[in-house]
């Protein structure tokens, strides 16, 4: 049985039986966690011995293909609180990826057909979600500048203001990826996820997909989430200070504390694409279909776009100067 992204239920591809995941009881939760590097598991379907990576929590049996969930790596401390199930199936993901490749304005022609996709795999990536409370105390000097003319002189009147702001900010469910293998920049770009589909975690959601357990705990990632909200806080602060010509910050005290953190699994399609003897990795948000990753750049296309834009701008400027009475040359 494997998780079906369309119905949101466990379904058997052979007999068509569908089980509602919310109704299944949690029998694995008492199993203890062991920190073995690579561990042997037995496939419950065919009995073959599986050896998995230490971080893997769900995979497929390499002999019979049945989905295997390594429950002891999803229990105790390592039990995810929530999960967003896949809403995009493998076929849809492939189609969406092809479409995305076609829209690449600067990618080489051969890349756009997306016919050399080596592998596409659905993966639940571990994330920490933080609820944060930031208190900011800001002191700044603002100026308002007015100029006016009287007689033969131009007067510049600069008024100085002492600005003070005490701000209480709350952020909810800020995600930070907790997997060592995943590129942080790539994962940040996958956001946002829609949290209305955030469900209580049940192991069957993982059936048929790959899943990882976290490598960093919420303490270790706290500094990362702080830098992540830093820019949000800064732009909120500047949005509260308006009407000034210049603002010069003298003192900005920001104290961010965690009110809650929980462990979630978020759905990501990983696409491995061989192009020009190089492997390119892309990630797709398994819920919204947003694709991120660095595709190769065609210098020919860059040159074509550049000359097109620069040439067009040049001709428009010439036309403009002609219409203003300037002549062409």
């Amino acid at each position: 049985m494997a998780y079906d992204s369309e119905t949101g239920k466990l379904s058997c591809p052979s007999c068509g039986r569908k089980d509602n995941i919310e109704d299944l009881n949690e029998e694995f939760i008492t199993t203890t966690f062991s920190q073995d590097e690579a561990r042997e598991y037995q496939c419950e379907n065919c009995g073959a011995v599986l050896i998995t990576d230490a971080d893997t929590t769900a995979t497929s049996c390499s002999f019979c293909g049945a989905g295997v969930v390594l429950a002891d790596r999803l229990s105790g401390e390592l039990a995810p609180a929530k999960v967003i199930p896949f809403t995009i199936s493998k076929e849809e993901a492939m189609l969406a990826f092809r479409k995305w490749c076609k829209n690449g304005l600067l990618t080489p022609q051969g890349f756009m057909t997306a016919d050399r996709v080596k592998k596409i795999s659905g993966m639940y990536v571990p994330f920490w979600m933080y609820d944060l409370n930031s208190k900011a105390k800001v002191n700044a000097v603002g100026t308002k500048v007015r100029t006016y003319t009287r007689g033969d002189y131009i007067y510049t009147e600069t008024s100085f203001y002492d600005i003070y702001r005490d701000i209480d900010l709350h952020y909810v469910k800020v995600p930070v990826d907790a997997s060592e293998k995943m590129n942080d920049e790539l994962m940040d770009k996958l956001e946002p996820y829609h949290y209305d589909q955030l469900k209580d975690f049940k192991t069957p959601y993982l059936a048929g997909y790959l899943a990882e357990k976290y490598n960093y705990n919420d303490q270790e990632l706290f500094s990362r989430v702080k830098t992540k909200v830093q820019s949000f806080i800064d732009s909120y602060i500047s949005s509260t200070i308006s009407g000034y010509t210049t603002v010069n910050y003298k003192d900005k005290q920001i104290d961010t504390s965690k009110t809650r953190s929980f462990y979630v699994l978020l759905p990501v399609w990983m696409v491995y694409y061989d192009f020009n003897k190089q492997e390119h990795t892309f990630a797709m948000n398994g819920q919204t279909g947003k694709v991120v990753g660095k595709p190769p750049i065609s210098y020919g296309k860059v040159a074509a776009w550049f000359s097109g834009i620069a040439g067009g701008a040049f001709i428009s400027l010439k036309l403009l100067s002609f219409m203003l009475g300037g002549g062409f040359w």
Partner: protein
């Protein structure tokens, strides 16, 4: 392919647009009236040939008038009287004429335009030309001052009357630089966004019900006032402008000292 054909034919079209000049017979009027003996004979011959070729192109005579003594008249009046009495003009007597008057006695310079030159070389444009040639006059390089007067006037007459020919939009270097900058910026942005861009902003994760400004203060401290003199419109030594000669010929003008 089609695009290129369209583009190249368009460019060709542009090329042939300005070829609407009328090639008239070369005038034989006197052009240089060097009463102050500022130029050598060789200079005169060379400058006259430049002046005549531009005159044919613009249907306007570019006259150099120098004197040591304006007989007590202002330089404007002196120039007007010269025009009334001599009656220069490319197309007819008292016709299209631009005059560069140099008075060595008072070290003053006056630029004026009559008829077509009045229209195409208005007082503002003559001011611009005067600012260009004044350094040459100060250095005693009268030949080059006259040559630049002709060349700049020729250039300015390309532009429709009333527009500022020194407008940055008309400068080729600006057009090239702006086009390249636009191309670099747009293609750069495209290349930067090729890997997907961040679509979360400060509001995505904020809880709007609980987030608030607890306390705010905007206290006025002080005001400082600085003043500076309004930049004068004209060159401080300049002034003058156009007028109507006693013979009834209206003209543009720009006067200054050197």
């Amino acid at each position: 392919m089609k695009k290129w054909i369209f583009l190249s034919s368009f460019i060709l079209m542009i090329f042939f647009l300005p070829v609407t000049w009328v090639f008239a017979a070369t005038s034989t009027n006197q052009i240089i009236y060097d009463h102050a003996d500022l130029l050598t004979e060789a200079d005169k011959t060379e400058l006259e040939s430049i002046a005549r070729s531009v005159a044919d192109k613009r249907e306007t005579d570019f006259i150099l008038l120098t004197t040591n003594n304006t007989d007590g008249k202002t330089i404007e009046r002196y120039t007007e009287d010269f025009y009334d009495e001599t009656g220069p003009g490319y197309d007819k007597k008292h016709g299209n004429t631009a005059i560069l008057t140099i008075d060595m006695g008072n070290r003053e310079v006056y630029l004026s335009g009559f008829y077509k030159a009045d229209e195409y070389l208005d007082s503002e444009r003559l001011d611009l030309i005067r600012n260009k040639i004044t350094p040459y006059l100060t250095n005693g390089d009268y030949g080059n001052a006259y040559r630049i007067f002709i060349e700049t006037a020729d250039e300015y007459m390309d532009y429709r009357p009333g527009v500022n020919p020194e407008n940055i939009l008309f400068k080729l270097w600006f057009q090239v630089v702006a086009s390249i900058a636009l191309g670099v910026i747009i293609v750069g942005l495209m290349a930067m966004n090729i890997g997907g861009k961040i679509t979360v902003n400060q509001r995505t994760y904020m809880d709007p019900n609980k987030s608030r400004v607890v306390q705010k203060g905007d206290t006025y401290i002080r005001t400082t006032v600085s003043k500076r003199r309004k930049p004068s419109e004209n060159n401080s030594r300049g002034g003058g402008g156009g007028g109507i000669s006693r013979g009834g010929h209206s003209h543009s003008g720009s006067k200054g000292s050197f």
